[in-house]
């Protein structure tokens, strides 16, 4: 049981490092996905331990998956629109808002 929570914490920390230390917008989005998956593992492990009949843990994981899918869809659409107008996905060059 402890190993699942520790794996979730490690995943979350690695995802946090990726979201903080990288400049490429696509890789930042992927690191956020890693973080969300870390949270999913913790949720499923705790749901297994609790053993409720209506599995709120699993349903919450489905919500997290749906939110992650929606966020990735909109994030990638934003990246495409941004890339079309400025030809870069480097966050240090995307500092000033334009038109």
């Amino acid at each position: 049981m402890l190993k699942y929570v520790l794996l979730s914490a490690v995943m979350f920390a690695i995802g946090a490092y990726g979201a903080l230390a990288r400049r490429n917008l696509l890789i930042i989005l992927m690191s956020i996905e890693v973080m969300l998956n870390g949270a999913n593992i913790a949720l499923v492990a705790f749901a297994r331990q609790h053993g409720a009949v209506e599995v709120p843990g699993h349903v919450f994981v489905l919500m997290v998956m749906a939110v992650a899918a929606a966020e990735v869809g909109i994030g990638l659409a934003l990246i495409i629109a941004l890339f079309r107008s400025r030809r870069t996905v480097d966050t240090t060059e995307l500092t000033e808002p334009q038109g």
Partner: protein, 203 residues
């Protein structure tokens, strides 16, 4: 801690999955080429699905592979190929100082979670069934709570499977389910509007 290592030594399947997941996540955050990151992410997703099966969340494992690996990752790869980033558009890598600070922050985050997990006195009152490394458990996970044992046949015969989670979604959690479908519709509309190419006006 010793119980943790004994637990890991008795469970090679989990060790392999965890190592693949960590290797995949490290590939995501260190590679410069986003395609390599996406492939590392795929390895991590597949190992997560195996861990879900191990935790008897079979429905979630199938949905994980379908949604994350089959849709989200494919969408990522499509966009990466569509953008077709050249070397100069990939962006500079952050300086050593920034990476060190980010690594320290990530370690602090992990330390915070580890502290909450390992501390002798929990931060809040422990509820029954809460995680405790020193709990006696037969096998992998401590015994299920009373509510599951009170219904030996019936819905929980297939705990975590399609039928069980489906019953839960469409009876008790029907309202969040409908809200999520509304959220997905909004996300689809938003993505279509944002990524639409503005064509020049016709003749």
């Amino acid at each position: 801690m010793k119980a943790l290592f004994e637990d890991l030594a008795a469970d090679p399947a989990f060790c392999v999955c965890a190592l693949v997941a960590i290797a995949g996540a490290l590939t995501v955050v260190t590679r410069r080429n986003p395609v390599y990151s996406a492939l590392g992410l795929m390895a991590a997703f597949v190992s997560f699905a195996v861990i879900f099966v191990k935790l008897s969340a079979t429905f979630l494992a199938a949905i994980h592979v379908l949604v994350y690996t089959g849709a989200i990752l494919v969408l990522f790869l499509f966009v990466i190929m569509l953008l077709n980033l050249q070397e100069k558009e990939l962006g500079r890598e952050p300086r050593r100082v920034a990476k060190t600070v980010a690594a320290l922050l990530a370690l602090a985050l992990f330390g915070l979670i580890g502290f909450a997990v390992f501390s002798e006195k929990p931060l809040h009152e422990p509820v029954p069934g809460i995680l405790d490394a020193r709990l006696e458990s037969k096998g992998d996970v401590p015994a299920m709570s009373v509510s599951a044992q009170a219904d030996p046949a019936g819905d929980t015969a297939d705990w975590g499977g399609v039928r069980h989670v489906g019953m839960a979604i469409f009876t008790k959690w029907a309202f969040p389910f409908e809200l999520v479908s509304a959220l997905i519709i909004v996300a689809i509309l938003g993505a279509v509007v944002l990524a639409k190419k503005k064509l020049p006006p016709g003749p």
